[in-house]
Structure formats: C-alpha cells, structure tokens
Amino acid sequence: MGLCPFNKKGVKKSLLSRLSFDIKKKLDTVFHLFFFIMAFITVVVTFLIVFALILDAIKFFTHEEAGGFPKSLIRFFTETQWTPTFFNKQIGIWPLVCGTFLIAVIAGVISIPLGLLIAAYLSEFASFKTREFIKPWLDFMEAVPTVVYGYFALLVVTPILQKFFSLFGIEMEGMNALSPGIVIGFMILPFTASMVEDAFRGVPAYLREASYALGADKVTTFFKVVLPAARSGVLAAYLLGISRALGETMVVAVAAGMYPNLTFNPLEPVQTITGYIVQVALGDLPFNSFEYLSIFAAGMFLFILNLFFNLLAVHFKSKVKGY
C-alpha cells in the first residue's frame, strides 16, 4: 500500500485530486526536458556556425576558380593580393590579415597603456565615490553602436589627424588605419580598463599592506606587487580586448578602407577581414558564387583566429589565483 498524499485519518480523497497528483509529477519530467532542450540549442548554434563556415569554405577551396584543393590552400597563404571579386582572382589572405592586425595593434597600443593607468588609478587611488562614478561610463562604451564609432572615426578623428599630419607635410588619406585604430582603442576600454581593474581588485589587501609596511609608496606597490599578482587576469582581459578588436566590423567598414592593402603604414587605407565580408555582402551575392564562398573562407579564418585568442584568454583566466 503506497502513501496516499491526502490521506489523513482515513479521509478518502477524490479520484480527481489523486489523478492530478500524478499529472503534476509527470509535468516535472516534461519541464526538465524542455529546459534541457533549450540549453542544448545553444550548443547546436555553435555547431551550425562551424558547419556553415566549414561547408562553404570547403566549397571555396575546391572551387575551380581558386585552383582546386590543395593549390587553393597554398595560394591562400602565399599570394599577396586578395581579389576574389575581380576578374583576375588572387586569393592571398595576407592583405586582409595585415589590415586586421594593423588596426588591432594600433588599438592595443592606445588602449593597453591608457587602460592600465585608468585601472590602476581606479583600484589604488580613487575614492569609492569617484570609482562608482567613472566605472559605469567605461562600461557604457560597450553600449555605443559601433556604426556611431565609425562615423566618429571618419568624420571627426580623421580630419583632425589630417590637419595634424599636414603640419609635418605628411598627407593622410581620408580612409586609413590610424583613425579607426584609435577609436577602437577607446571602444575596448571596457576590457583594457574595466576588466583589468576587476583583476586588480581581486588582489587581496594583505599583499598591499605587506608592501606598505615595508615603506613602499602606492605607485611602487602597484607595479611591484599588485600588477604581478594580477597578471593572469590582466592578460586575459587584454586577450579578450584584442579579440574584440579583431572582430570589429562597422568602425573599419566606415573608416578604414574599401580595398585590401598589404601595408604597415597606418596612414594608408586598409581593409580588414570583417570589412571585406561586409563589402561583399552589400553587393549582389548569388548563392554559391565564388564571391559568396570567399566570405565564408575569410570568415572561417577569422573564426579560428578569434577562437584562438578566446581560448588563450580562458586559459589565463583559469590561472587567476583565488586568494
């Protein structure tokens, strides 16, 4: 005889309530399944991304216009021009990679020192009120639409830079790598400043106090104690910031340039992997055409690059010492 839930002192409960009790329990299984399926869909999404990229990237590399596999792969990594949309199809990825990294490096050069000083100030010197005031603005940088950053780079920063360089007799083109690089540098401050500041805050007070007790001032303590202690978290933040810069699309689409250019000169126009994809997507894009497939090949490359930096960041995050 089982336990009847409503049976107390011999009062018989109706068939209906006993039935509904069973239904209630079955619902538990139904909901469990539903929630699991929704969670699993997120895994499916990643699968679909990889699937979509690989499928059409393979079609690209086996395409006759690319020279067929494996010749196409060799060309991908050895040619120095990227012109899949032109009549004379060259498929060297380097100009796009070069543009992507040139801008990311500029962004890093601006953002890393800037962010480091800001983060050090906020965590070691600023009062509670100041920090509470400044930090949300840093995080708000993420909320600004990137096309707005692009506008700012093209129509405000570039003219200023042009005037600046003309003082030295250097001519800078309207589209260039420097301007978007600077803007993206500010754009990734949520990583290079805010996230880095979080890493500094994670360093326990007693480590600092040991340094102060020995007579060191705050600046020395910061560089010699706090920064080394937080280095894993800081590195992870930088990697995520660079990863973000590598994947940025609209700022470069607006302000960097319209054609691939293999150069290290930040004053020249360049095109990034993302900029190329957007440019091609803006035009007519018949399904399975060579041009269509080329954006998937480029996208696949970007995805792998991005994955590499993300995994590296995860690796360093896992090394963050839980004090």
Binding site: P5, K24, K25, L27, D28, F31, H32, F34, F35, F36, M38, A39, F40, T42, V43, V45, T46, L48, I49, F51, A52, L53, L55, L114, L117, I118, Y121, L122, F125, A126, I134, W137, L138, F140, E142, A143, V144, P145, T146, V147, V148, Y151, F152, L154, L155, V156, D217, G247, T249, T274, I277, V278, L282, L285, I295, G299, L302, F303, N306, N310
Partner: protein
Amino acid sequence: MREKTFSALGLILSLISILFLFSITISLLIHGWSRLISPSFYASFPSRFPEQAGILSAWVGTVYVMLGAIFWSVLIGVPAGIYLEEYADRSSKIARIIEANISNLAAVPSIIYGLLALGIFVYRFNLGESILTAGLTLGLLMVPVIVVTTRESIRRIPRSIREAAYALGATKWETLFHHIIPYSLGGILTGVIISISRAIGETAPLITIGALTYIAFLPPAPWQDFIGMLKSPFTVLPIQMFNWVSRPQAEFHTNAAAAGFVLLVFALAFNALAFYLRYKLRKKYAW
C-alpha cells in the same frame, strides 16, 4: 609626490575617456541638428535628396526586428539559464560543455553570426532575407547575455526559500513557476533590457543577411499580415546610418549624424533603465 602625480594622471585619463564619449554625443547632436529638429525626418522614407530623406522605414524595421530578437532570445536564453542553475548537476560533463559553449558564443564576432544566418537561415532553411531571419539572428546574438543574467538572478534567491517550498510538498516545477521565476523576473528583465540596448546598434550581421540599405516602403503591419511581415525585406536604423555615412555628399552625413544621435539616445535610455531597475530591485527583496 609621486603618488599625487600618478593619481592625477589616472584621473585625467579617466576623464579624457569620458570626454571621448561626450564628444561623440555632442558632435552627433551638432552635426545632425537640422534634421533632428525636423519632424519629417522621423516620418519620411530615404530619398535621393538628403533634406527629404528620413528614418521611417529604418526605425519601424528596428522595432519589428527587435521584437523578434526579444522573442527568440528569451525563448532560448531564459530556459537555458534555468536549466544550468536549477537542473544541471554542476560537475556533469554536459553542464560544463553548455557553460563553456555559452561563454565562447559571447565572444564570437557578430559578423560570424551574420555568416551563420546567411549560410543556414537565409539559404539552407529558406527563411530568406527577411525580418524573421533578422530577429532570429539578433536573438541568438543576445542569448549569452540573457543566460548569464538569468543565472545571476536565480542565484540570488536564498536556499531557505526553495527549501520552504519543497518542505510544503511542492514539485520542482511548482517551486520554479510559483517562486523562482517570479522572484527573478526583475533581474531577467534587466538582462533583456541591456541586451536590447546592445542589439539595437548591431549592423554587421544584418548587412550580411541582406538587409536593404534603401527601402522606401514599410513591411506589412503585424496585426494585418503577420506572416507577410516576417517574410518582408527590411532595414534598420544603424544600417540606414551606415548607408548615409558612406555617401560622399556631406549633406547625407548630416542625416547620418541625426540617425546616430537617435540610436545613441535609445541605447543610453535602455542602459539607464536597466541601471535603475537593478537599483530598485536591490531594495525590493529582503535578500
């Protein structure tokens, strides 16, 4: 003293960064002023003539696409967050895979989502270059944030409340629907609002799936022709701005600035709303 210089430097640099944000806002405002104060800007379609070009199709498109995005992101993200917090065994392989996967998805460039949508949704699933595809794509983009905020909200509910419910004989789903979800709704809502503020400005994935940059019509209204609305070509506000800023004529740049200012105001408004909600919620529940 060295400390004072360092501290002053840090403060100045922080203020410069904030100044950066402000100069963007102000330059948009000043540059776009003439169009911003003209009511026809908000009610006109794009045009060859910059003075007549407006953002009507763009903001209507944004509204429709965002509604779709909210639908998909909540449908997938909230249950996924519930699963990870309430059902999954923390140490199990599947839970860790799902968690790691969501973290990775959060860091994938948005244009890759565009390629996913183009290759799979537009062509292989045959959903076309439509509002449906756009909503689905942006929705997927928003899922990681929704999952994280859902989990955080649920985690804040103390164990004792759950135990009280179970001790009274509640099933797992009863505890979930009568207690856990109602008490975390505020936090979930905050997460949704933050995702909206970011998704409003998303351009790259939508360009990739074929959002038009010049559309002089409105998609059918959802209450008149829902399926027609879903299948309709469209544009959104950031794309309209991109289109205008890419033109050589300076007059179109004025329109771009105006459109950008509208975008910025909405992004800021939603962000502020989320901030405010978070503050109010902290006070509402005794925990």
